[in-house]
Amino acid sequence: MKISKILSISGFVALGLGAVAMLAAGCQSANAGMRPHAMAKSAKGGAELWTQNCLPCHNVRSPSAYSDADWEVVMQHMRVRANLSASDTEAIEKFLKSAN
């Protein structure tokens, strides 16, 4: 079987699996308190996660660059744009607001 057909089929399969995963996840709340992974990473803290997640693409911006409300918009933008995890996004946003 040609590799292109394999990829095409696997792409559709992946999309299907993704749809099943969405249903299995039960559309859980995106803000349902601190998650287990967030607890595991809490030792790192928002400041460390801030540099670890931002630097791979661009310079880190000062917490004072935006207001608290603006950081909420920016962090949501970065989450959907750069595949940040939910727990990291939460921790970074909390840090930016506390340091603002």
Partner: protein, 437 residues
């Protein structure tokens, strides 16, 4: 009204009066003196008056306290209303935000016309709630004597849960890293794009129109990142307008060929700052005698380290792209003047880039400088008309005025090889001032 501070003297007076009233009785018992009925009644009246005044003052005080509490509550209510009003007009508290970047530059490359450049790319972000985000980026760029306006992306994202985000609309194609994450001028370390990622003449669809599911799934201490999409498929250039472009893939804004492309990027982040990924896109494209497969693949690797030992930030990255369109015959009847032509339509390209910013080095003025080196290349099919391979070295230095504003200068030297011709050297420099906002 009797102030609270007077309560103690008033109580003292009352106590003194009581003492005065009773003292003579005791004195009388001891010394044999007597208190007249008139004196006793006078003192009793005085005590009664004092009791009445004390009661009155207590009543007044309670009323005043109630008034004060009411006033305080009213003031707090007004303060809350004022704060709320202030929040509605204060910049930065709306759910709507304009970010983006703009730049001005100058290119002077051998064989090309020296050109000043300028562009503005505002990004409109509208956070509808904690799950819904609309984002759009038009780009205004000078092109000849005109201003070219293009829509880089405009899409609606819905955060379904912690691991899945759905996106619909026009989005930057999550194919390799550069188009989706690194192309904005304030992020790109050099003034121009790597050869395989040029918007014209590159190998990669910069943006796509369709549907996307993406997310980040923790796997132990690592993170799996993914983005899968279904979008309008590209069309195959059959050389009807420019023979040099025959065999290239272009255009994904509309489904001109009526076919859907399936693609995605799956990557792993095993350590902080380290990420590697594989990307693919597969589609069918129309040719004169039917359809053919068009397959794009890429791998990318990046490692970014910010450490005291390095006295700064080291940024290493590389991406490699290869594309293949099944063999087809172009200009079969010779009407376009270059056919019939058939060739092995494979293209490859990539870049490796290293950047270092001594952000922890002494003296401190050095910290705002960044050194960049990049090697990039692109290989076109040998049998294609006017096929040109190119490879070059670029060295740059950036001066950062703040975290998103920089002055960039870069020199490049390389070689272009057109099919059947001698290699031609290229060299030149590019300047750019960029601001992200």
């Amino acid at each position: 009204m009797i102030p609270k501070s007077l309560h103690s003297p008033l109580a003292a007076s009352l106590g003194l009066a009581l003492l005065t009233l009773t003292a003579p009785v005791r004195l009388s018992a001891q010394a044999g003196d007597t208190v007249t009925r008139a004196e006793y009644e006078k003192l009793a009246r005085e005590v009664s008056d004092l009791k009445a005044r004390l009661g009155q003052s207590e009543t007044t005080q309670a009323e005043q306290k109630k008034d004060a509490d009411d006033s305080t509550e009213e003031l707090e209510k007004e303060l809350r209303a004022t704060k709320s009003l202030l929040n509605t007009v204060r910049p930065g508290t709306s759910r709507f935000l304009v970010a983006g970047y703009g730049y001005a530059g100058f290119d002077n490359i051998k064989g090309e016309t020296p050109t000043f450049k300028s562009a503005l790319a505002p990004i409109f972000l509208w956070r509808l709630n904690n799950k819904l985000l609309f984002e759009a980026e038009p780009e205004f760029e000078l092109a000849g004597s005109e201003t070219e306006v293009s829509l880089e992306y405009a899409n609606l994202s819905y955060i379904l849960n912690d691991y899945v985000t759905l996106k619909a609309g026009k989005f930057l194609t999550p194919f390799a890293q550069f188009p989706d994450r690194l192309h904005p001028a304030w992020i790109n370390k050099l003034p121009d794009f790597p050869l395989p990622f040029r918007e014209e003449g590159g190998l990669v669809p910069f943006s796509s129109v369709g549907f996307q599911a993406s997310g980040n799934v923790p796997v132990g201490d690592m993170n799996l990142v993914y983005a899968l999409y279904a979008a309008n498929g590209p069309s195959l250039n059959r050389g009807t307008e420019e023979p040099a472009d025959v065999g290239t893939l272009f255009g994904t804004n509309t489904a001109e060929n009526g076919r859907t492309a399936i693609g995605g990027r799956i990557g792993l982040r095993p350590l902080p700052g380290l990420e590697f990924a594989y990307s693919f896109q597969n589609s069918r494209v129309n040719v004169d005698d039917g359809t053919r497969d068009a397959l794009l693949q890429a791998v990318d690797l990046s490692y970014i380290r910010d450490s005291q030992a390095l006295r700064g930030v080291l940024d290493l990255r590389g991406e490699w792209v290869w594309s293949r369109v099944s063999r087809a015959t172009y200009d079969a009847d010779g009407a376009l003047g270059f056919g019939p032509l058939s060739f092995d339509n494979r293209r490859t390209g990539g870049y490796a880039q290293a950047a270092y910013r001594p952000s922890k080095l002494e003296p401190t003025w050095l910290r705002d400088f960044e050194l960049v080196a990049r090697r990039d290349l692109i290989n076109q099919p040998d049998g294609a008309p006017e096929s040109t391979d190119e490879r070059r070295w670029t060295f740059g230095v950036n001066y950062w005025l703040n975290s998103s504003t920089a002055l960039k200068a870069a020199v490049e030297t390389g070689r272009r090889t057109a099919a059947g011709e001698d290699a031609e050297s290229t060299r030149g420099f590019r300047l750019q001032a960029v601001m992200g906002f």
